[in-house]
């Protein structure tokens, strides 16, 4: 029984630690113009490469809206018709939610967008671990 656990733990470590192949890319400047209206951003999904210098131009169209990006500690607000800018280097890889920072109505707490920086390695590794969990259970059946 012991060696099975060692094998499974080894496989789990491989899934957690093995480098995920990524596309090599030269960092560039990217500008996104986002329109914010009651409870949506347009576009709501921003895809960039790690190291890109990103500028978000936020324009609120109906009420005051804001944006703060999880994991980046950045935020700005925009009055209706006005454009606010936010510039940063996307130096953290993964998938990050951005959220409205100004109470804009009932669904305000759920006004959310997504910043995708390179590959979402956490999701890839989690999927691998989920598959391993099933394999481990099936393997355990045979003992």
């Amino acid at each position: 029984m012991g060696w099975r656990w060692i094998v499974l733990a080894g496989l789990a470590l491989v899934i957690l630690l093995i480098p995920v192949p990524t596309k090599a890319s030269t960092p560039i400047e990217r500008t996104f113009h986002i329109e914010a209206s009651r409870f949506r951003y347009n576009p709501a999904v921003l895809t960039v490469n790690p190291g890109d210098r990103v500028t978000i131009e936020l324009t609120a169209t109906d009420a005051v809206h804001g944006v703060s990006i999880d994991g980046y500690n950045l935020e700005t607000t925009s009055d209706p018709g006005q454009t606010a800018r936010l510039t940063f280097v996307a130096d953290r890889q993964g998938s990050f939610r951005f959220r409205c920072t100004v109470t804009c109505g009932n669904m305000h707490p759920f006004m959310i967008g997504k910043l995708q920086v390179g590959q979402n390695t956490l999701l890839i590794r989690a999927a691998g671990l989920a598959l391993l969990a099933i394999i481990a259970s099936v393997w355990g059946f045979r003992r």
């Binding site: 409870f39 999904v45 959220r99 959310i112 989690a126 989920a130 099933i134 259970s137």
Partner: protein
Amino acid sequence: MTRLQEVVWKPKTSLVDRELAGLQAGVYPGRIDLVRIPWLRPILESRWPQFLLRALTLAGFVFIITAGLFGSRVGSHNFAIIFVWIAWWTALKLVFIPLGGRSWCSVCPIPLPGDWLQQGGILEKGRRRFGLNLRWPKRLKGYWIQSSGFLLIGLFSALTLTDPRLTAWVLLGLFALAIGMSLVFERRTFCSHVCPIGGFSGIYAKTAPVELRVVDHGICAAHSKKTCYQGCPWGLYPLALRDSAQCGLCMECLRTCPKDNIAVNLGPFGSDLGTTRQTNRLDEAFLALVMLGSALAFSAVFTGPWGSLKSAAFTIGSPAWLLYVLGFLALNLLMMPGSFTLAVWAGQKWSGKPLRLRRAIANQAQVLLPLGLFAWIAFTISFAFPKLNYVLSVLSDPLGWGWNLIGTAHTAWSPDVSGFSPILQVAILLVGLLWSARVAVRMSRDGNNPDLRQIIPVLAFCLVFSLAMLWLLIG
């Protein structure tokens, strides 16, 4: 029906006698009987601590309705929204159910006035008691109504979870329904067969480590008065309890058993799961699948980046909302039950088992319970954690009227959970998947002819669900 107060209180038995009886019976190895813990026993046996807790939750409930009806219409500034959908809903999924099963039911304020009316008093027997005391129709028993109630809440969730007035009216409606039903039907019919939260708590209570059981089956069977059954507000007979889905942990059986034959066990998590039962009931499987489908839908609406989906869910009555309703119902009534049925059918066919499909579905639905509970916990982390700062704010200004009672109304502190919450969500979803897989394996070993093939399609169903949740929450 014999009312609670008609049942005489048992003469006290010493702890030593009780321990001896338990050891002689020896029926629950590996469990700690909480009634044997000297300082805990009086707390469990007395009605006062529980009454005080329920009085407190009742006061909170009344305040929540008041805040919902008369406070700010902005949900994030209103005590009703923050305390019901952020604080209580989070506590229910993260603490009450995983650790205590239906423990919330034991302090829930909603059935309290109905209990008082039925009993004609609060703690003491009253002279005049109210109610027709009818039996709940047999064809309405099971989780069907509770599943429908949960689906109904899901259809209006974007508004219910964000509009204080609607939250207050929903709670008032549940309150009125509980009182009305207590006047027509016997005991806790509302809690057992109608309350959507009761259904949610009930099925996931099977994963919890707390269980109420009789110590010695022989003593219970030989006791002709069945005072525990007569005293149980839920109408349950403790000897017949096979799992923790129905027991509301009110402890009345403990208080009314003259033989000191009730144990409140703290045991391993999920000990109710993994055994094949002689049941054809599909209501539990349906509720488990509704819970999975709702977890997917809520994750998409509340934590996803799709603004048009949020707007559709929020604009009740609009063509977009009707499309949302169609999608939500298709997911919960067709896709989830259909794909699970297909998985069970494929497993039975592959293994050549003679078990009927209906029974196989009823049994293998147990596999969905850890998966569902942990999916709800993972969803709650991204749903509630980033909004915990609202709790401090509404404590100081509960009605959103500009008060600052304790100086925290304008607190800018917001917990930055972005660093650890995705990792935590992955870990939680993986634990749920692994646990469900273990239940499936345990079930496949149960019986004379263990066969792995019967569970592989169901494991594939669980894997696909977990991947979908991962994508919605951290993708």
